[in-house]
Each structure stands twice: as structure tokens, then as C-alpha cells.
Symmetry: D2
Subunit: 382 residues, 4 copies
């Protein structure tokens, strides 16, 4: 099952780490640590192998992929030996990267993207191409009448308005090209009635939003712990210090708001009440691609006794995110192959703000993911 993985933001940290890692796995230069689809409970015949994956993508930046890989190696995100060993393979992927289209109407730009996707699929004789958005987080867009339904949207796109934010324009173009779509960012992507309707019409599955890699991952096991023990969480306050490209973007207030919002949802929905406190994101350039998050939780036990827990998470965001991008591409490809269309709530395990998921508990999400892949492997998830 030859599968294209088309990355929007293909020269970013997550994308570059994902490409290097995917190529390294194909070449047998590394093991599958961090790839959940390689765990005994999940792996199986329905998923494309690492050797089946072919990478391409769009980006507004033009830095060569090998330069980005070297920079990530210098920053301790990748082993330098991989960047060196895979130089030729990276150059090959470079040929499949395309500039983000500019100028003209949004309809014209969408057509260019669709054409890029179609050409990629044909050039490599791929069974399908999964589009994964790992570009910079956008601010929430203004409402527009064109968001309501496919016809209104199509009409509006030909006009002069910036009807869709970039993530949604890519999603639209992906659907037009018959490609499943995954949003690894908190951006809008496919979350508009017009786009959801279009994806349903075309029989395309999609998943999102916002990869769950650091503080929120920890929250998704600690909050259920407090709930299962009937302990009353009084306050939960967090601060995220991060450098890197993503950090710089998130320092921008619009994007920060979008991110913080999806982070707090976990608590309220798991506990049944919203504790005091909030989450901060601050940009500290020196931290580079490593993020430090600190959380303080105060809680009451039996007879009201006050207690506290704090944790510090010091993680490399790209090293945590990249294998999940590969997992999501494999799973979404398999779902498409199995005939699934519309949202994939079974992939909630991967997201901070999962579409249509009844729970934020990591282990309930895990159980659902295990059941889903079991069905896929048995040939029945469609």
C-alpha cells in the first residue's frame, strides 16, 4: 500500500524530524521508539509499512531540508549521523516539496495545491496521499458566510476575500484532490461546516486537532487519576516555556489564545468542574526545541485536607510529535483504505482537542484506538 505523506509546513521542525525519522526507519538506521503504531497492541497488516511511505509537502520557507536536518542535529533533536547518512534520501524528498502558492484568488491557489497533490500521487504511483498539517499555528479566522456550505464556499473562493485561513484552504484542496486530511495543529483546518460536508460527500476520513505531546499528555493521565480517586482538584496552574519556531509563533497573542484554550479543555471535561488557575505559554529563545512545562496542582482529600503536586516536563517537542505524525498518516491511510469517511474520533488518543471524542482520558482513548486498529487488521473498520 504505497502511501504519500504530504506535509503542510514541510520544512518545519516537526515535519523535518518526521521525514528524517521515516527515512531512517525505512533504512533500518533507527528503531521505532515513540511510534505507537509499532506497539504489539497496534501493529498489523492493515497499516502501510515505513517502506511504503513517500514524503512531499508545501512550505512558505525555502531552506533546504538537509540544512534544516543539520540545524536540528546541532540542537540535539536528531543524531547528527542520521542527517549525514540520509543526505541523498533527503535530497530526493526535496524534489517533492512545493512552494505554498501565493497571489490570485483563493480558488486559484487551491487549484494549484490540488494539482500538486495529484501530480505527487501520479508521479510516485501512490495508492493514496494523506495530507497532514504541521505548519505554524494560525489565529482563529473571522466568520464568513462562505463557511456555511460547499456551494457558498465555492462561490466565495473565486472572489477577492480571504475566505479561508491557510489551514482550511489546504484542507479544501486536499478534499478536492481526494486526500484524507489530518490536522496536527490547533488551526481551523477542516473544522468548518462547508468542508466537513465536502469531505463526507467525497467519502474522505479526517482527524485532528492539535497533537498531544507534552503537558497536556501528562494532564490526560493525571486528571483521571484525581477523578478516579475522588480527590477534589482545587487549582491547576501551568506555565510552558518554549523556544524554537513554534515558540516564536505562539508568543503571538492570537495563536497563544488558541493553544491555551485547547489545553484547558482536558481538565474541565475530565473532572466535571473547572479548577482555579490557568496555563501560560512564554517564549524563551534559549530553550530551543526543548520545552519546559511546570504545573502546580492543589487538591483536597478526605475531610478537606489540602495537598499538592507539581511536575516539570522537559521534552523535545519535535521528537515527541514526529513519530505521531507517522502514526497518524499510517492509521488514516488504513481507515481510508477500509472505506471510512468523516471524522475519526478513534484517533482522539493523539490530540489535545480531539474531534467528537467523549473523553480526554488517555487510557480510555487508548482502549478505543486498540479496538479500532484491531478491526482494521481484521478487515472490518469501514
Amino acid at each position: 500500500m504505497r502511501t504519500g505523506v504530504w506535509l503542510v509546513g514541510a520544512r518545519g521542525s516537526v515535519a523535518t524530524t518526521g521525514i528524517v525519522g521515516g527515512l531512517a526507519l525505512r533504512a533500518g538506521l533507527t528503531g521505532p521508539t515513540g511510534c505507537v503504531t509499532e506497539l504489539p497492541d497496534l501493529r498489523g497488516p492493515a497499516l502501510p509499512t515505513f517502506a511504503d511511505l513517500v514524503f512531499g509537502g508545501h512550505d512558505v520557507a525555502t531552506t533546504p531540508l538537509t540544512k534544516r536536518a543539520e540545524a536540528l542535529a546541532a540542537a540535539g533533536v536528531l543524531p547528527g549521523r542520521l542527517a549525514t547518512a540520509l543526505a541523498a534520501d533527503l535530497a530526493a524528498v526535496e524534489d517533492d516539496l512545493r512552494p505554498a502558492p501565493t497571489g490570485g484568488s483563493q480558488a486559484e491557489r487551491a487549484a494549484t495545491i490540488t494539482a500538486d497533490l495529484t501530480a505527487f500521487r501520479e508521479r510516485h504511483r501512490l495508492d493514496r496521499v494523506v495530507v497532514v498539517n504541521v505548519s505554524a499555528t494560525e489565529p482563529a479566522p473571522a466568520a464568513h458566510p462562505g463557511h456555511a456550505d460547499p456551494d457558498a464556499l465555492r462561490a466565495a473562493l473565486t472572489g477577492p476575500d480571504e475566505v479561508l485561513p491557510p489551514s482550511s484552504l489546504y484542507a479544501y484542496a486536499a478534499v478536492e484532490a481526494g486526500c484524507p486530511y489530518v490536522d496536527f495543529t490547533p488551526s481551523t483546518g477542516l473544522r468548518l461546516p462547508a468542508l466537513a460536508a465536502l469531505a463526507a460527500q467525497r467519502g474522505l476520513p479526517y482527524a485532528g486537532h492539535d497533537g498531544k505531546t507534552g503537558e497536556t499528555l501528562v494532564k490526560s493521565v493525571l486528571a483521571p487519576m484525581f477523578a478516579m480517586r475522588h480527590l477534589a482538584v482545587r487549582s491547576w496552574s501551568g506555565v510552558n516555556l518554549l523556544g524554537g519556531g513554534d515558540g516564536a509563533t505562539l508568543a503571538e497573542p492570537g495563536a497563544n489564545a488558541a493553544k491555551v484554550d485547547s489545553k484547558q479543555r482536558v481538565l474541565g471535561e475530565t473532572l466535571g468542574y473547572v479548577p482555579q488557575g490557568g496555563t501560560r505559554i512564554d517564549y524563551v529563545e534559549d530553550l530551543g526545541d526543548f520545552k519546559t512545562a511546570w504545573d502546580l496542582i492543589t487538591f483536597a482529600g478526605f475531610l478537606g485536607t489540602g495537598m499538592r503536586m507539581e511536575f516539570t516536563w522537559h521534552g523535545c517537542d519535535s521528537a515527541l510529535a514526529a513519530p505521531l505524525v507517522l502514526d497518524l498518516a499510517r492509521l488514516t491511510a488504513a481507515a481510508h483504505a477500509a472505506g471510512r469517511a468523516g471524522p475519526l474520533p478513534e484517533l482522539a488518543f493523539f490530540f489535545k482537542d480531539p474531534i467528537d471524542s467523549p473523553t480526554h482520558s488517555l487510557s480510555e482513548q487508548w482502549q478505543r484506538l486498540v479496538d479500532f486498529t484491531r478491526e482494521l487488521h481484521a478487515g472490518g473498520a469501514g
Copy 2:
């Protein structure tokens, strides 16, 4: 369903907090925070109500219960107003406390305990009495031929040897009195072939070992998180600083070894490999009944990138343990009423070192507990 809760170590911190809390719940002076059997997923008709519970117990100490309650209030474990408001009820429980028997053969001491239990059950017209061991942790006992089967045991007990450690003598006496037994400590208790056989013969359920309240509770959700994400835990090191009566006991090397051992089991069994590092327990008198645990976890992600997490847990052990003692008494009583005999692996959720449990994952244990209580309420867990 009038249910006796007989506490071995009835004047200790956990026991006193449990008694005060149980009386306060009966009197409507406090809410059920920390009692998992009061969560919507677990509560129901099969469990005795708080008003159904009657407390008694053994202890080697003689400090009056009201004195212990005042001391715990001064230490911030209990609200002082409860100790005051419940003075009369505590005095009533005082009448049901008995000294730990001394002198004579172990058979004679066991007979005294059995007689105390039987008299308690009759005096209060109780449907059943659950014996819960919350006395000081013992060192592991020396092997003895009497441990092998009921007949050998009975014969040995009449001789001069200290055949059984105290926890096991209480367990033996409980079984002889027809009482279900719960071990909240890491001591041996019912974990001897002779005693397990006896409990089976008498149709008595039992549960244990070692209440899971602090660092290990956190481990039981964090270790599965790393496993589910296919992250490679390289080292997990912890230190537990604690004061209080339990802290003083654990400073003693024999007991320390027993406790540390049950703490490390969670990791190896959850991850499938044992990471580097270990757990320390140190006695720091000034910390009183509050414990501070600090853990450092180093782990590798995709392509081997090294990352780290640390957490500090600052909990009041007695406030965490006491409601679980009430939960265990209620659940074990209900299991007995439903005709269950032998070990209760469905109660693994409560223990660091659960009997016969296939998993240390808190959420899998939770699911099993939910299923079990659902059956009990439906009238079918026997």
C-alpha cells in the same frame, strides 16, 4: 447490612482518621471526598452505608482515641472541629477497642482475638465483621514448616515458636471467626499457603496488599503513559521523605526493604523492562504526617532523543489512606454478602502490590473495579 470494621492498629493514624471520617460521614458533618465508593460509577445498593458501619479494633498502644484525634487535628490531618464534635462517638468506639493479646502460645493469642471478634459481632448484632490490618509494617518473617497447610499450622501454633508474624496471626484469627480480611499494609497477613487454604475452606474473601496512596499511585498512571506512547524509560529514581509513626517504622531497614520492593514492582510489570534507578524512603520527623516524594524520570523518544520529567508529591498519607480503608471494608463486606471466597483481584485498584492482578495500570484496575461493583449491585458478583 450492619457491618463491623475491625481495625488492627486501631489507634494509628490511618485507623483514627478512618474512624473520625466514618463517624463524620454518618453524622453528615463532612462530604465523601476521597471515598471512591461514592463516585457515580461505583455507588449503589450492594454496599453498606456509612451509617451501617460500626468500628472496633486491636492495638498494642493505649492512647485514647480522642487524644489521637486531637493530635491529628493539631498536625493538620483532620479539622479540629470534627475531633470536638465527635467526642462522644469516639468515646463509644473506645469501648470497642481491645488490647493486642500478649503472653501464652500463639494459639492462645489467636483464640483471644477470635473471641474479641465474635463478641463484637454479637454485641452489635452485626451481619458481618471485616478485619482490616492498618498496624505498623512488619519485616518479612522467617520461613516455618507450619506455613504450608492448615494442619501443620494448627499444630505449630500450640508450640513455643513464634510461627506467624502478628499480621498473619490476626489473619488466622479473623478466618477462624468467619471474618473477611483486608491487608492495607505490605506485611505478610494472609499470604501463606496455610491461611489461603483456610480462607477458601471457610468461604471467606480477602484482599491486599499495601494501600496505594502516593508516589506509587502517580507511577500507576505515568508508567502506562510512557508505555502507551512507546517512549523508552531509561531511569526512574525516587525519594520518599516522611515523618509520622509510619515514617519511624519504615526507617527500620527490614520494613523499608519490604516497602521499597512493592513500590518498584509497578514499573517493571508495566513497562516490560526495569529502568535504572531505585526508590529511597527516609525518615524526616519534621514532615509529620505529610510526605514529600520526588521522582526523576529520564526517557528517550524518537531517534533516541533524551528527555526528562520530575514530580513532587506532597500528600497527607492518612488523609489519602483512610477513605480507602472505608471503601475496602464496604466492598469486601459486599463481596462476602454476595458469596465470594478467596482473593479479590478486582480490588487491585487500591493496592501497591495487588494479589493476583494482571496489571498495575490504574485505569485498567479502575475498569475492573467498575465492572465488579456493577455486578455486585446487580446482585451477581458471587
Copy 3:
């Protein structure tokens, strides 16, 4: 040397804790922990004794002092037994509290304050009264021509403008009443040319600003450590979570800015460069009078190797601040008695943002304080 301690914000947490503690020390009910003027290096004959201190003050609030003391006891800031034992003494202080004047021109309000101070001094036959501002932090005031010199100020005060922020109006009135003045808050207080000139004319000493009690105290020893070891601090980021009255005020952006500003100064001035990162203050009601601060410091050593340190400070702000208020009153009274006028940079040890201090290093400030008190005791600091 009978000394009045007049507290602006006399019903606040810091003031109430200071009054209770001062009375308890006088009554021999507590020891001098936290009072630096009782250390062997500082104590001596020049300072008024605790028995010499008489308390009074202004506040806009009207809650009785005994109520405030009970609330602080319930919150764990004070031992309840002290609030009880000192009820009569607190009632006596209550008689010396006055409402903050309202209505009329600022000149009229200042006159009322001056009259209150004079009457207090006479009523109790005090040698002098030290005015200490411990009221809520104000936003920075708008510039006004009246701030420039005493004549312009006096003229402006009779008009309709709010020429001075409250802290400065109290400072003005204190100077008019011949009282030394200490500003324990980051508010403007005496820091206006007109007021400094007036204090000099009247021969009055003054000190400030902003008591150094938590995170900044720690910074004032850690930053010199990095400097003395020639380590390059790359980033220093902090978050302060606090409840209580002060926390609520600081949640207000104007006050927050003032406070954060004085917190960051320490780093730049000690290190000679400003590292990346910043300090946040967030209000978390559940934390009450206890504050949790977390700081992350990244630094480079030899050959550029990156390292990190983090600390969590969990302190009771009022318990840290109150004894310093007593220290400052004693020291400023002694300075006044010795004939000192104008700013007292020798008291920099106590402040986040000290007037005229060449250093933020706690130990250099300490050395200066030791020298200063030694001179006072020898009779020569004037």
C-alpha cells in the same frame, strides 16, 4: 525609647500579623524567629525593645483586628492560641486605628492624617512614631507639576486634583507630622522630588521600597552565586502563584506591572546583563496567604555547556513580611534618634527595590546593615 509604629493598611494581612507578633513578643508568648534585628550581629542598645513598641494605623477597611487575626489563624498564618491569648491587647490596638480620611481636598485629608499621627504620639507619650506603608499596592500615578517641589505641591494639594496617590499623601502627612517613613510596598510613597525635599528639610529619615520576602530574596543570593562563579545565565523565568488580599490586588494589571518591574531589576543589576525570560504573577485564590513561586534558570558553563536549575518556593508571605516590618520600624526609629535624615540605603537588605543601593547582593547588603547597626549601637550612625 517609646516608639509608635503607625501602619497604613493596618487591617491587612502583613499589618495584622506584625501587630499580633509584636504583642506576642512583648508578652513573651513567642520567640523572635524571622526578626533579623534579634540576630547576634544586629541586636543592641540603640534599638527600641519590643516592649517599647505601640501600634496604631489607618485603613479603608473596618473589619475588627481580632476578626482579621482569627481569619489568619484559620488560614494557618498564625497559631490560633495567640489570637485568643492576645484578644485584650488587640482590642487596645483597635482603639488606635483610624479610618482613611475621605472627601475634601487632598490638603484637608493630609491634615487629618497628620492630626491622627500627632494625637497618637501625644496620647501615648511616644518619643517618635514611624509610619510604615503596608497598604495595597497602587498603580503608578500620572505625572503632575505638583510633584516637583514643596511649594508647587502645597499649592496643588488645596486644588481639586488628585495630585498624589494615597501612599504619597500618607508620606506627605507623615513628614508634616515629623515622622520617619518606611515604604514596604512598591507604591510611590516618598519617591517624588517634592517629598524627598520636604523630608530633608525636616531632618527625617526614610526607607523603601517593597519588602523582599520570597522569590526575589532567593534571587538575591542565587544571582550573585552565578556571577561569582562566572557562569553565564541564559534565561531566568519565573511564575508567582498567590491568593490572599495582596494576590487579588496584584491580579490587577497596573499593580502587576509595578511589582514585576521591581522583581526583574535584581537580575540585570547583579549579572551585568539581562538574561532572557520574565516573571509572571497569577492569582490563584485557593493558595490563600501562601505563595508558590517557581523559577527556571538556564545557564552555560565552561566551553558553553548548557545546564539548568529550578526552584519552588512555598512561603507564607505575611509570616515572612511581618517581622521585617518590626525590624524596619526599630531600625528607622534608631536612625531618627541618631539624627539621620534622608534616604537610608543601609536598609537595602530588606527591599526588592532599595533606594540608592549600589548592590542587589543580599550578603553585601547584610554587611552594610551590620556595619550600620554597629555604628548605631556605638552611638555614631548620625
Copy 4:
């Protein structure tokens, strides 16, 4: 002033980092971060320059220095580019490394060491050679009559006994060769009456013990902070997790005891009382050359209110220690040049367990160091 730096343990992590750094400074390939003798308050004409330093040493290991440098680069202790750029200079130093002598009487081994030192001094026409012990920490030696005075020692060394532990044998040989001696480890070194007498006779200065680089460095500023604020430290508990060669040695109980001991001294001597708690050292291989220390401090403030602080230090021990080794060599050489003999308590700033120092406060030690170097530069410290 051509100065030899003779490192005992010359192939260890600290020594190798020191040599690479010294060569890199000479070549202008790096800056002096971490070298305190390059701070404005300390630098000056009395110290040998980095270009004046010539390295040599003994080791029981034989791994080539370039191999060790590469390994340290791979572990993130050094930048890889330095190991590469300095390959030729490292090979030159290699020629000045000698095996630790074995076999024969201790007198014979000492003679070999003395000969190695003398040859080194002559070969490179050095004004003097400072011997610095950075070899593995030893257990405390058994008492021996030969330790009492020079004559007894000389007599004993010719016999079959292992009279001196290795660190003291090196110290003896250094003194015999007329070399000042610095002990950067907690080993015995020159701390025996016989050796101190000999050094005095020969007019040689010496310094020690045990470089202060991590947790103890932090303690030496935090403990004075608590003392200066009259706060009562109730408990101070710490754990040190470390890998690397030093970590493996310290896992050995004898060495561990020596190290822990020197760590606890700071507290008792600074505070005037010994708080509860202790320090643990645990070996965790995965941490490599980076050490993580965690400390919990509980303390009481005014009126007994309980508070707490915790910190985590994540430092690269070799990167912290190596520049201090260069500092100590430069300062001890200058002291020797100025005619100083006997212990150098002015260098207490550098040590956990300083010889003859009246204080453990880092800033008091700093002041003394500043005064000392000022005198040296002025030509008068002798």
C-alpha cells in the same frame, strides 16, 4: 611565569575537560566562562596566563586523551569541534602523561613520582609545577603511626605497609619535588600531620578539599540566606543522582560516606545547628556526566509558620569543575611565587570542605578571595 599543571587522574573527566579548555583558551577558541580568575575583581598580573600553562599528569588508566575528549564531546560535555581542532595539542600533552607507578615499596613509588615531576619541570623549563589531585575519590585510610611526623613517615614508607593512601603518596612526592599541591577531591591528600609539617619545612603552599560545584555550591548561598533572615531551618534533605566515572566510584559505600560527610558540614557550621535530614548519592548510569540533585528544605518563620523550598540542580560536573582546576592552579602558583607556605584558607571559595576556613558562606569566602588576589597583584600576599 611558565607554570606546570600536573593532574593526578589526568585521563579522568575533570582533568580532560580542564586540559581541553586550557588549550582552547590558549588557542583563543573559547571564552573564559566558568573561570573565576578571569572576573574583573580577580584577574591581574600576578597570575600565570593561560598561555603560560603546561599540562602533564599521572593516571592508572591508559585511554588516550583524544579518545577521552571525543567521548566527552559525544556526551555533551565538550563541543565536538574543540576535540577536533585541538587534536595535535592533545597529542602533545599525551607525551607528558605518565602511568601511576606500581610495585615496590611506597618509598620507591614516591621516588618515581618525584622524578616524573622534576623531569617535567626541567623538560619544559617551568618556573614551578602545581600538582592537582583530580583522581577517583578514595575511602578514608586506616590510621598508621607513620602519619604522625616526617621522620616516622619516611621510615614507614620503606617498609612493606601501605602507609599512605594514593592521594597522600602523591602529595608526599609533590612536596619532595618542591611542588605546591591542591586537592580537588575529598580524599586525604596532604591532611596528615607528617605531610603538613613537611610542606611547611619546604615552604610550599597547599589547598583543598573537594571542589564545590553543585548542590553544595547552592547550599553555600541558601543556608546563609536562611541564617541572615533568622529563619529556622527544620529539615534539609537532598538526593544526588549521578552517572559517569565519578558516580560509579561514589556508589561504593566507603567513598560515598566521605563525600556525604563533607556535604553536610556546610549546613551545621552556617546555621549554628544541624537540621534534620541528610544527603544521598545514588548512581544512575543513564545520567552520564550530568548530575541531578534535588533538595527539600522545610523552615519556620515568624510565629512558627511552616514553609518549604525545593530546588533541582541539573549540572554537568566536569564543566563546572574543570575551570576551577585552572583557577586553583593559577592562584596556587601565584601564592607560591609570592612566598606563601602552608594551607591557603583564602581559597575556601572553591571547596566543599575548606582547610582552616572560618566560614562556609560563599560570599564571605568570595570577599576573602578578592582581598587575597588584590594583595597578590599588588605584590604583597606573601
